[in-house]
């Protein structure tokens, strides 16, 4: 195959140059393939965080204003087990990023490619190491004097609080997978007593605006006036 075209589709496409692949192939995998060399300390990370991230995510990554919190909800024990225990608690109000993320590569990859939200691709690799180190320190995963680098990141992975919290034991990765639930094809007398388990709460009736204005004003299916109670 020549640089300029294939035999099958002459004239179409060209080989990428090495510089082009370097420019675009920025993804970082769980095995750290793609991770550029570099390093950054928690302290450096904190400085960048406070100037570039905290406005949206809060000084401690706790803010719920712009997005769900980054840090919180993980324990020293989780770091040992690799399972965030509070995830099994059904009353846990919120799941932070650190409670869910199983791989440190994910944080590195995403922050480098997409943050800050309003200025993506503006961080250097060293910036990114530093910020990831800072976020990990918020979760007590690394100490406050830690310097994260391409050489020690694999060790850090072993401390991610939810590293053992993911399962692929399900039938949804492929159309050939086996469903975990299947319905019933019963046609008659299927339910002895039909019970309504949940209804639209009163406060939600008009929470999406007046439904009358979200349907046609003609035809058989008008919207009900949700600014008022249902008609008698």
């Amino acid at each position: 195959q020549s640089t300029q075209g294939s035999t099958k589709f002459p004239g179409i496409g060209r080989n990428a140059t090495p510089a082009e692949v370097i420019a675009w192939d920025i993804d970082v995998r769980p095995d750290f393939k793609g991770l550029p060399k570099g390093s950054g300390s928690v302290a450096q990370g904190q400085v960048i965080w406070e100037s570039k991230c905290a406005s949206c995510h809060g000084v401690f990554g706790e803010s719920n204003e712009i997005f769900t919190p980054i840090a919180g909800g993980t324990t020293v024990d989780d770091v040992k087990t690799g399972r965030v225990a509070s995830l099994a608690d059904r009353k846990q109000p919120q799941r932070t990023t650190l409670m869910k993320v199983p791989t440190v590569s994910t944080l590195w990859d995403y922050i480098y490619r997409a943050m800050p939200w309003n200025a993506p691709r503006s961080l250097t690799p060293d910036d990114t190491y530093a910020i990831v180190a800072f976020i990990l320190s918020l979760g007590e995963i690394v100490p406050d004097d830690f310097v994260l680098s391409n050489t020690n990141i694999a060790e850090v992975q072993k401390k991610m609080p939810n590293r053992n919290g993911m399962t692929r034991n399900h039938g949804f990765w492929s159309i050939n997978g086996k469903p975990d639930v299947n319905g019933s094809s019963c046609m008659n007398n299927c339910v002895k007593f039909v019970q309504i388990g949940s209804e639209l709460p009163d406060f939600a009736r008009n929470a999406h605006g007046n439904i009358a204005e979200q349907n046609r004003l003609y035809g058989p299916y008008r919207g009900s006036d949700s600014t008022k109670p249902p008609i008698a």
């Binding site: 059904r90 869910k100 993911m166 046609m187 339910v191 639209l200 979200q214 058989p220 009900s224």
Partner: protein, 401 residues
Amino acid sequence: AAGLAAPMAFAAGEGDPAILEKQEWQTTLGKNVATMPYGVPSIYEANLIRRESPGLTRVSAASVAFTPLQGLFGTITPNGLHFERHHQGWYNLNPETHRLMINGLVKNARVFTMNDLMRLPSVSRTHFIECGANTGLEWGNVAVPTVQYTHGMLSCCEFTGVPLKVLLQECGADLKKGKFLLAEGGDGSGMTRTINLEACLEDTIVAWGMNGEMLRPENGFPLRLVVPGVQGVSWVKWLRRLEVGDMPWNTKDEAVHYIELMPDGMHRQYASIQECKSVITTPSGGQQLLDKGFYNVSGMAWSGRGKIKRVDVSFDGGNNWRTARLETPVLTKSITRFNIDWVWDGSPAILQSRAIDDTGYIQPSIKMLRDVRGNRSIYHNNAIQSWKLDSNGEVSNVQVG
């Protein structure tokens, strides 16, 4: 009581003024052709637009705009009403400078312009796209009033593009070792998703066309990946790069989101398939029937695993069911429209639909799903939807069982 709109009755010699009196459009000259070189809907359709769900997300550039399914017909979603989901907003990318790079486990990493891609052998196929989080608000309890918000992250279009397989072969991809594909978008989020090549190689399309014209900017203009049957987030928009690899990437949107929390605290990861599902769109939540009598009850059914084989409808909350008519053609991984006759006698009713696909899978109840998955899954809620019709003619969102 029903009868909000009693039929007009007239004595002989009288009649409906809409007939007896001449209308403006019968007695004057209308507008020119091409008054709108690219047309828009009638002014009387202004209520049917994409809408956000207040409070669902905190910022509107990382949010959802839902399709108004309550007013749509058939199977095709008009492009202007295709649902939107962005993670870092949308742009009108310049197609002249847009590039697609293919790298990784390939003989030659290659670059294609839009000029190149649009010269390759193309296919045109109709598929549904559903966000994995569609109906996600309802895992716990009834939360939103209408089908726009319960099911409106669903669209169905005819896509045109080059089969993924053609492109990968062209680059000499090693498909023995390379069972995984990273798809990367050109927006600020650089959206990245791992595609299962074993399952998706045959029908995935690198698409530029949607319902006859170019993709809309909000839907990935000029290039998006079409991965039939798989959740919408994997249909990467503004597609810029494909990398063949030997393991999944665990990107942010497959390691922190689009994961399903099970009762034991484990998250299911890489749950991609959108299982068989259906919903009645008319009448549906928030609608108001004006009268008793005959109704055509209509809805949509789809399955990420194949074709719809049957749809049953219940009017008594799932106790008794009748099989609906399916509009043809029934296509794989596409929307099928169903319709069924019904005479409303004015008493309360609970309407449900239940789809069965050609693998034999039957759409489950929300209780069956919760029994296995709990209620914190967020994603992949394909439960039977219940609409309660009150004797006042108002339809509302309920869950039974």
